[in-house]
């Protein structure tokens, strides 16, 4: 493109003062929830912008009930018979390999259920943000109880204090397994976590991230001694394995010397000093705010964005002692967030796309009491995510999904000659035949969707409403006219053809041929819409 893309207003945290119209509401919901459900659009329009953002950031709602046993124990050597069907397994210490595998599956399916049934808050979105940030892989961690505990740590702190979260994460059992912290001892320090906490979790790899290799080594020494009590399923500190020498950090950290300590409290005390040191560095807040920017807005952080958004946002984060809520609030309330240049420019992640489809078209699932069927149905969504390269719970490695960090393409990494046809194939499948588990079919009910529209008998308004609801950026009137003619009017040019067919469907659904015509036309129209590149954007 030869012309410079310009923002409407220079990037700053000045509050959005534009209209609180449907487009603004949709934009906000598409970036904070999965797809914008029609009911939600209505609800949030009524709240106004401040009310909407406060609602999205509401953490007063209870956390979902934990995952349950929906599996048969098969040929496990040590079956978990103590846990009855439909009861939760998260507090049971069974770590038999087969049972662990079933439980990890149960956890992942449960997670999908939470996404589909999300409440009107940003919490599910933030769980994935933090999961991507602190990437661990369930297959490597192994122990399903640790996997759940790690996820619950994220979930409980998704909108809380980042510094506390990082502190807790450093001795989280799953993390101690994943990055070898449990093996880190004074005679042979293991640098895995000490590197990643700096490079990936707090300071980052930007031009201002000048921590050194010796910093990694010193941190490894500081983190020695932590172990996991597998009976209690929690971590503990073993002073005998701890390196008690002083830890000298580089000029990047102000040449900080963290005095080595002895005894039972050494691990905690030194870790506190370390965390304080990391977060005292200005780069921490800058790094975290850039990640939030890429997550919520776009991956291109120009110098004016860095100065107008990132720098003040980072200051806000520091001034709030690393509470993340005020920062997200400021970012989402800003004029910059709602700038037209920032709308429709994200390529949906696989999770966002698939769950978004289910929610936008209000696809029905069984009632909660039918948990085995539900878990089975949710499992299929997991396969879709995995084939599209977003294996929820098992990112490719500790740096998370490439879409959120890999220059130059970022979200473009979701889309290639392999994943794009698969995206279309899976969307088409859900729109046409759906899939069935234990006799329950999950499929988009196009007729039910269209029936709820304002004026379904008017083919122009039908297409307008559909396109407006689901497409990331608009298509032209000419394009819509062509769609109307080819799909709804079967090649004819008179709107009456559709109106008549629709009226007949409403009055006499038993007219098989007509109902079939209407159903097929709607299915094809929805299919066409979700196959458009415009549907890949949000």
């Amino acid at each position: 493109m030869s012309t410079e893309r310009k923002f409407q207003t220079p990037p700053s945290l000045a509050a959005y003062a534009g209209p609180w119209d449907k487009d603004a509401v949709k934009h906000l919901l598409r970036r904070t929830m999965f797809g914008a459900k029609k009911d939600d659009i209505l609800y949030f329009t009524g709240l106004g912008i401040n009310g909407s953002i406060n609602q999205l950031l509401d953490t007063s709602l209870p956390l979902p009930e934990p995952p349950v046993k929906e599996y048969a124990v098969g040929n496990a050597m040590v079956p978990d018979t103590i846990i009855g069907p439909g009861e939760t397994w998260v507090n049971d210490t069974n770590n038999d390999g087969t049972i662990a595998s079933y439980r990890r599956g149960s956890f992942k399916k449960w997670w999908v259920g939470n996404l589909i049934n999300q409440d009107r808050t940003i919490r599910e979105n933030m769980c994935i943000f933090w999961h991507n940030h602190f990437s661990t892989e369930t297959n490597d961690v192994g122990n399903a109880q640790y996997v759940y505990k790690h996820h619950n740590l994220i979930r409980s702190n998704a909108l809380g204090n980042i510094k506390s979260l990082v502190r807790a994460m450093s001795i989280d059992p799953a993390m101690l397994v994943y990055l070898n912290g449990q093996n880190n001892n004074k005679s042979a320090p293991d640098e895995n976590y000490s590197r990643e906490i700096q490079e990936l979790f707090v300071i980052g790899k930007g031009t201002g991230a000048d921590f050194t290799e010796p910093d990694v080594k010193e941190a490894a020494k500081l983190l020695t001694g932590w172990r996991i009590n597998s009976t209690k399923m929690e971590s503990y500190f073993d002073p005998n394995r701890h390196d008690t020498t002083n830890k000298q950090f580089s000029s990047f950290y102000g040449n900080k010397l963290i005095a080595g300590k002895t005894g039972a409290t050494a691990g905690d005390l030194e870790l506190n000093d370390f965390i304080n040191m990391l977060f005292a560095n200005d780069e921490a807040a800058l790094f975290l705010c850039r990640k939030l920017y890429i997550w919520f807005i776009y991956y291109k952080i120009t110098p004016e964005v860095e100065a107008g958004i990132i720098a003040p946002l980072a200051k806000l984060l520091r001034n709030n002692n690393y509470e993340v809520k005020p920062v997200i609030k400021a970012l989402l309330s800003s004029d910059h967030f709602f700038d037209m240049m920032n709308r429709g420019c994200q390529i949906k992640s696989p999770v966002n796309m698939m769950i978004g489809l289910l929610r936008e078209f209000e696809v029905k699932f069984p009632t909660p009491d039918m948990y085995t069927t539900n878990y089975g149905l949710w499992n299929q969504m997991l396969s879709y995510f995995t084939n599209l390269q977003q294996n929820l719970g098992d990112p490719p490695d500790v740096s998370g999904w490439k879409a959120y960090y890999q220059e130059p393409g970022f979200y473009e990494y979701w889309i290639n000659t392999d994943t794009l046809p698969k995206r279309i194939q899976y969307l088409d499948s859900l729109v046409t035949n759906g899939y069935t588990v234990s006799g329950f079919k999950v499929v988009v009910d196009g007729l039910a969707y269209v029936k709820k529209m304002a004026a379904p008998r008017d083919p122009n308004k039908l297409i307008d409403e559909l396109a407006d609801h689901v497409l990331g950026i608009p298509i032209s009137a000419q394009h819509k006219a062509q769609l109307k003619r080819d799909i709804l009017l079967s090649g004819q040019s008179d709107d009456l053809y559709w109106a008549t067919a629709w009226d007949l469907y409403i009055s006499t659904p038993s007219n098989a041929a007509n109902t079939k015509y209407v159903t097929t036309a709607i299915t094809n129209l929805i299919k066409y819409m979700v196959d458009l590149p415009e549907y890949q954007l949000c």
Partner: protein, 524 residues
């Protein structure tokens, strides 16, 4: 039209969209594109293929290519994971190294004259982050430089200018590069867009129709929209070509099962034999980040690293056997690489932490069998900070392949590699250009006094031409470049004032045309 007929009839669901679209004259993609002449490089041998095998995680070089000539130092540095001397696989005519016991396939290839081992491949200022190091290897950048294109992406940009506009055309009907798997690699990233195609199943591409009606807006959203549309176009253009090539091959020689690298190479062999003109293939195998439990206690020849190396060795052997079976083995050269090697000293978890240089393999029927370089000089008593210094810059491997296998001319080579890199005799004489290996490289550097306190003298022999002397520390970091100039053939001396350096082990590295040599020296 009879209205009643319209209402009573219906259109079959699955077929509807394509026939509608084609029938209704939606604007087709690229209806007005111009054909560009495919500018091939002079001397370009059109049917040559290069396969890149990426080993993710950082492969432990010292347990892959075992330094038999320093076995006791090796054993001391890795008491919990060293491979027993008697188990190292010997190579014909080679005394100083042995391969990991799991690599019987590569041993066989070496003895058949189809494997070249390059020792200690790395670069100055090694980076120990997976992600940064991977980017460095993929982009061919310096350690502190950030490039957003891949070295093969740049190569393909040079070979096929203007891509994708004007492609496919009569001279190049096929994808420029194919990556097996669902990810897009930086290696294949060109200036404007990815130059390669990602596929996981060559026999089926879900066919969908896409229509470009509206121009993309001039916004970030428009940029992303254009990207999705472009991917869609390419999938459709090349999907058919790949399916057809894939279907042509009905028999292949056996590949190991439960080996994802073998699965990928099997597809590559099919597509080569099936007639694709694609020159570059990329495959990927992970799990090498062996921070813990690299070997099994009690028998270090088995364990996670052994399994990985065994799979790599068996996959490459099966691939080579199949290429021979298909009659295309002389067309293919491949290499393995990993983003870094691992630490000399093992850790307390029976594993190793991130390191620097490591050996890599170049394989193929047209490869010059042999070993480039010597074993790294191991310290008497290794400490946690010690790393393997590099003998060969990884970009030398790339430059050698581009120049001597893919037959790229020097101007293009410079545009792709951005700097001049020493070329190595990796492929057989007579392939693109003649190489004159300079004679026996023994004793080209003499360093005295050793140990030194203030000043050290380096006496070196040059065969003429570009000569470089570098000083590196024990972690592989470049301390100083003492010499970097053209020399007449002869013996020369240079003094180095190392008084200010911290005490410890250092390496003096000589590079002269295709020759390099490293000598260790101690500062006290």
């Amino acid at each position: 039209m009879n209205r009643r007929k319209f209402l009573n009839g219906y259109l079959p669901a699955g077929v509807m969209i394509p026939s509608f679209v084609n029938g209704m004259g939606f604007k087709a993609f690229e209806s007005g594109h111009t054909f560009l002449n495919n500018v091939l490089l002079p001397g370009g041998d059109n049917d040559r293929v290069f396969v890149v095998i990426q080993l993710n995680g950082g492969n432990d070089g010292l347990n892959t290519v075992i330094p038999l000539d320093q076995f006791s130092k090796y054993q001391n540095a890795r008491q919990n994971i060293f491979i027993e001397e008697s188990k190292a696989l010997r190579l014909n005519g080679v005394d100083n190294i042995g391969l990991h016991p799991a690599m019987t396939g590569l041993q066989q290839l070496y003895n058949d004259g189809k494997l070249h081992v390059v020792q200690s491949v790395g670069y100055p200022q090694p980076n120990f982050s997976h992600f940064r190091a991977t980017d460095i290897w993929m982009s061919g950048s310096d350690s502190r430089q950030v490039l957003n294109t891949g070295w093969l992406g740049r190569f393909l940009d040079e070979m096929y200018p203007g891509f994708p506009i004007g492609y496919p055309n009569s001279t190049m009907t096929d994808p420029l590069a194919i990556q097996i798997g669902s990810v897009t690699s930086l290696t294949l990233q060109g200036a404007a867009q990815p130059m390669g195609m990602s596929i996981s199943n060559p026999s089926s591409f879900y066919s969908f129709v896409n229509n470009q009606i509206d121009p993309a807006p001039n916004s970030y959203a428009g940029k992303e929209l254009s990207f999705v549309r472009e991917m869609s176009k390419q999938t459709q253009k090349f999907g058919e070509v790949i399916k057809v090539a894939n279907a042509k091959v009905t028999t292949q020689s056996p590949y190991p099962t439960s080996n994802s690298l073998a699965d990928q190479l099997k597809i590559v062999a099919r597509l080569i034999k099936g007639g694709l003109k694609t020159k570059i293939y990329m495959v990927n195998y992970g799990g090498f980040d062996t921070h813990a439990n690299q070997t099994v206690a009690g028998d270090t020849s088995i364990g996670s690293h052994a399994t990985l190396l065994g799979n790599v060795s068996n996959a490459i052997k099966a691939f080579m056997d199949d290429l021979k079976f298909q009659g295309v083995e002389e067309r293919v050269v491949g290499m393995t690489y990993s983003e870094f090697g691992r630490r000399v000293l093992s850790n307390g978890s029976s594993g190793t932490d991130h390191g620097a240089a490591a050996p890599l393999f170049v394989f193929g029927a047209m490869v010059q069998a042999g070993v480039s370089g010597t074993n790294p000089i191991l310290p008497m008593k290794a400490t946690v900070g010690d790393n393997v210094p590099y003998q060969y810059d990884f970009r030398s491997i790339y430059a050698s392949i581009l120049s001597n296998w893919l037959c790229v001319n020097d101007t293009t080579l410079n545009n792709v590699m951005l700097k001049n890199f020493q070329k190595l005799p990796l492929t057989k004489l007579g392939t693109c250009s003649i190489l004159n290996p300079v004679g026996n490289p023994d004793q080209l550097i003499v360093v005295y006094p050793n140990p030194f306190h203030k000043k050290v003298t380096i006496q070196f022999k040059s065969a003429g031409g570009h000569t470089m002397i570098q000083v590196m520390d024990s972690a592989g970091r470049l301390v100083k470049i003492l010499i970097d100039a053209n020399f007449e053939a002869g013996t020369f001396r240079v003094d180095f004032d190392g008084e200010h350096l911290p005490a410890g082990l250092y390496y003096i590295r000589l590079q002269n045309q295709v020759i390099q040599q490293v000598k260790s020296v101690i500062k006290i």
